[in-house]
């Protein structure tokens, strides 16, 4: 399908940033992301899994997964 072919995966590295900076970076990045695109976010802030879930709920994005990568790191996949 044409739509899938054009889907872009964006990445955002917020490692080392403390709450609420990762979410602030996600919101800034979101401005350049088109509906249908994917955003992958790396984070090691403790509250990130709950915070990204809350952000997705409020902004009507789909949080596909927020995986614990070990070592205090998380990787979230957000469908726009």
């Amino acid at each position: 399908m044409g739509v899938e072919k054009n889907m872009v995966t964006h990445t955002l590295d917020t490692l080392g940033l403390k709450c609420p900076q990762p979410i602030l970076k996600v919101a800034a990045k979101a401005k350049e992301i088109q509906p249908g695109d994917m955003l992958e976010v790396l984070a090691d802030c403790h509250s990130f899994p709950d915070d990204i879930k809350a952000w997705c709920t409020r902004t009507n994005k789909t949080l596909l997964v927020c995986a614990n990568e070990g070592g205090g790191k998380f990787k979230a996949q957000i469908q726009f």
Binding site: Q21, L24, D51, T57, R58
Partner: protein, 125 residues
């Protein structure tokens, strides 16, 4: 459980009453989360907090284990937050307009109260 508000966009007002990290960090941290989630955000500085709005002053605020203030300020402004300064500050704190950082709106109390009359959430720090 979080309330399932979906698209709901709110309006949040943060009032800063001082120039210390305990006044500024909560306002900018909670404000960051609000504006990042799509809320309108107004940060209002009373005269006591006004010196923090001199050019370069916010960037000097540091806190152990806390996020970088300069980054928070830049982030909220990029997402459309408005910083308002009480106009009484100029006489009360012997400040001049040209000392104030760019992007700050100088307002009277009645204007501020009108601006936030539809805010659902207010904090004072």
């Amino acid at each position: 459980m979080l309330p399932q508000r979906g698209y709901f966009m709110g309006k949040v007002a943060m009032i800063c009453n001082g120039t210390e990290p305990k006044n500024l960090y909560p306002a900018f941290i909670l404000g960051s989360s609000a504006v990042a989630s799509g809320d309108d955000l107004i940060l209002f500085f009373t005269p006591t907090a006004a010196p923090a709005l001199r050019k370069g002053e916010l960037e000097k605020i540091k806190g152990k284990g806390l996020p970088d203030m300069a980054d928070l300020v830049e982030g909220v402004m990029a997402l459309g937050a408005r910083i308002m300064l009480c106009e009484l500050a100029f006489d009360a704190k012997d400040m001049k307009k040209e000392e104030i950082r760019d992007g700050v709106e100088v307002v009277g109390a009645t204007t501020f109260m009108a601006e936030i009359s539809d805010a659902q959430t207010t904090f004072s720090f």
